[in-house]
Amino acid sequence: MSDTLSGLLTIGVLVVALVVVHVPLGNWMAKVFTDERHWRPERIFYRLARVDPSSEQGWRSYALAVLAFSAVSIVFLFLLIALQGVLPLARGAAMHLDTALNTAVSFVTNTNWQSYAGESGASPVVQTMGLTVQNFVSAAVGLAVAIALVRGLARSGSATIGNFWVDLVRGVIRVLLPIAVVSAVMLMLGGVISNLSEPTTITTVSGGHQVIQGGLVASQEAIKELGTNGGGYFNANSAHPFENPNYLTNLLEIFLILVIPFSLPRTYGVLVGDRRQGFAVAGLMAALWGIMVTVITWSEVHAAAGPIGAMEGKEVRFGPWASSLFAASTTGTSTGAVDSMHESYSALGGGGALFSMLLGEISPGGVGTGLYGALLIAILTVFISGLMVGRTPEILGKSIGRREITLTALALLVMPALVLVFTGIGLVLPTVRAQMFASGPHGLTEVMYAYTSASNNNGSAFAGFSADAPYTNLTLALCMLLGRFVPIVLVLGLAGSLVAQRRRPGTAGTLPTHSPTFVGLLVGIALVVTGLTFFPALALGPLAEALS
């Protein structure tokens, strides 16, 4: 079978699987977040945490709960990492304090940027008690915020947007855990390891010595992809054969990365009582994802580096097609897991991975973050195009006035501001320039990629850039924090302001937000806004490299 055929077939299988699964999963999630009853294990948690699950929160209270929970998580994770040396199963793993802080922030913000080397930086205790736990709850936080925004659109004239603790617990127990368990077993069957063995030292063919680490990999691998986290057990992430042994596990991992983000539009459509609205959002996500897959794959396959395309930094068992598919999916979802090294991609391919993140993680975006990011774009689009039909812009009968556009615009401003400011500063700081691996346009891309990855809570890296130094650890942590929580607070504020509005009935004069024209507009606005913001920077990085 030719590479092209097998590549297209892979994409086809993936798309069919997503199309089939998004309906039941989307419906299930809609049911989860509207269910009146509480499951027994959930009740135990509520009693322990002294939370009244039947009381709802206004947006301020909801946002405070998100922030408090995340702050406590960061402190706990930081202490766990800092103290891992005195905890059991330490196995010599250690991190500097700035690396520890960076890591704590990274996992709580669902970024999973790893300044440390996976297997040697974090002990199994930190991996399972700290990182894996955050893999679940940080994804559930994103899910909760997205659902809160959807409630803002779905409810009419209400004061509350749900209960954060209920949303968080249900997200973990009813959505993430069951799928993670099933997929962990499937990954194990596919060959992903899961043990607590001591490191084994082996002698390689060429006579060198290599330490082989064991670990509870399969369970972490499942939620790493499913929760769009991306923090690998091993430094090599999904390129490592223990994490991702073969072509099928690779496809399964890509599917896990995409499945919740692509199902959430369905949930949205069901919750607002108009499935077509969900199709429109899914249309935006799918179009952007399709464009990025095409650009990256085309560029990798046609790069002159090897007979079957650019193979540097790619695993032979995956090849350019599956690697590019993984790259577009992981950068488009704020996952950041990698099965190939993006630094080694062709200029346009690597630039594509960068652009995919710069879109603001909406293709299809992370768990929850993708949906609220896409809805922000929808509100921006409605505002501009709504005026063009001669009415105060409105989405689902909620008008976009001064307060709503302020919150939307600010939420969309955060990421570009962080990326541009810190990339600019980084490139003139000698200390950062010393950490760069490449020079010229490719070096520029390295630094920009790092700050883009952090500010978008993606976590993938242009691996040449050695980010484990105090300045970069701290600034990247700052980008992750601000890039995650400023938009979250603004989105919840938006939910609060939308939920209070009475819904206006749609008429022939209302802008339809489900038509193909509108989807086209969404894609256009997303591309143009990103393009205009980052064109100068991209011109000096990937574009300059590609055109020289």
Partner: protein, 688 residues
Amino acid sequence: MTPTTDSDSPGSSTATLLRQMAATLPQAFVKLDPRHVWRSPVVFVVWVGSLLTTVFAVVSPSWFAWLITVWLWATVLFANLAEAVAEGRGKAQAATLRATRTDTVAHRRGSGGVIEEVSAAELTVGDLVIVSPGEVIPGDGDVVEGMATVDESAITGESAPVIRESGGDRCAVTGGTTVLSDGIVVKVTTRTGEGFIDRMIALVEGAARQKTPNEIALTILLTTLTMIFLLAVMALQPLAIYSGAAQTPIVLIALLVCLIPTTIGALLSAIGIAGMDRLVQRNVLAMSGRAVEAAGDVSTLLLDKTGTITFGNRRATELITAPDLAGDEITRAAYLSSLADETPEGRSIVELAAIALSDDDRRQLDEMPSQGAEFVAFTAQTRMSGIDLPSGAAVRKGAADSVASWVHDNGGQVPRGVLTDVDTIASSGGTPLVVASREPGQAPRALGVVHLKDVVKPGMKERFAQLRAMGIKTVMITGDNPLTAKSIAAEAGVDDYLAEATPEDKMALIRQEQEGGRLVAMTGDGTNDAPALAQSDVGVAMNTGTSAAKEAANMVDLDSDPTKLIDIVSIGKQLLITRGALTTFSIANDIAKYFAIIPAMFVVLFPGLMTLNIMGLSTPKSAVLSAVIFNAVVIIALIPLSLRGVRYGPSSSSALLRRNILLYGVGGVIAPFIGIKLIDLVVSHLPL
């Protein structure tokens, strides 16, 4: 102020506009004051940029630096010019109005009936003033005694005088208008300086103009975009330094100005002022820009039946002959009986019958009254009218039962067929009048039935269909019984009706619509309309109405034409569309500007970037300058559009969206590629 029905006429001729621009140019310079420029964040950024380039140009002068500087200042100037031209039109109207507001002498009637002469400025609310023919009414108020014809042309532009009388809904008078005949006593209701004309002057001058909610929201978006581009350009310098191609501040400022949405930023306030102005040209005075915007959002229109949907009077539409009779008998009888009937219904019967009569017949009938015929006038008791001829013959027309009893009382019979016709007409919502006649010495006979009905104005059905296409529901409000209301509603094509409506019903309907999330617009003129006018989102008071109604409304129609509500909605929509279209255009323009400037900045360092110079601009400097010039010139080019408003015809939102995206989105992407290239062809000959 001359009323203009065609909004396109002012400014449509380029010459007029150029003259206006030239006349307001000094004003544009005055507006360079930073305290003024500050009000538009986008223009303010350009202003700061211009100032900085001026400094850099002075420090290290070059042709390029000075040309960029000049064109940046021109950008700010053009923005000011757009606003000044828009304001200038209002100012001319204000001047006309001001001329009418000369200091008037008022005859105040003090307690005890003493009349004293005071200046109008000394009047307080509640004072009674006597206004005699030829005098100017000193302030806004209500007529409390008497009746007069008043010349209101100063505010309405309508030269025909109107009648103002005490009591009822025609009691409000406006300061500055002139009493032509008779005399009235006016109770002053507003303080001097706060009267209608004062408010009108403030409104048309734009002095009272505040940013509307949508305008504020749009300004926030534009400010955010400006911030993003400010960051992008500021971050570019360290990137450029890293790459080894540090840029001069002038080029960076030029890039920034080209990227931020200057086009819409410059034209935004002009669009708002022009929107208000378009209403004024249609003789509608909006008390706030907010109301104009709300008009675009209206989804329910409450329209009074009488005068809006129908002509307001029942008219004869058909003469139905009783069975077994010749056709011209009823025609002659109806004509004869209505000759002296001066009511609109009577006139309409004469008109209808006249069509069927020959000239000879008519002449003969017309002469009858002068030959001793006697008219029997309509009274509430008899409910019929008619004529008694000297020969002893008589004709009667009137309510079916009244005429029937007249026939019976005199020994006659009413054929069954006539009664059936009466019922048919009544059940169709019309009013049947039975016509009967008595020949000398004979029993009276019923001749047939006149069908009177409320006639729907021509073209209403089409207008309501258009409104439906725009997503607007029309509700007819009438005092008629449900049967009549239903039939007229069906004929006019309104979506719904409210029959036997009381002011409370009207209010309840508005509340109900608003609770369903719909914005309601209505017109009204009576004092009892005031609460509903205040409750509705867009309340248009007729200028002939009471001051209570005008006070409660947020718009006043000087022509007192209720159908204008439909125009008002269109103007509101057009205002929003113009803003959205130019915002889209402005953002779409940026793509071409990047393709002009970015290769120009870095082509020396990365020759490969020449590929991006798809316009084939001659030199880097000429590319930058061409983009800056295009950016400035496009503002001037779009002033006419922002003053006139984007073309708007009623259609569905999807059709509107497609059209505007194609025109202003896709057009906005393509236009600058052509424009910048053309400018470059000229600029490349300059010694840069």
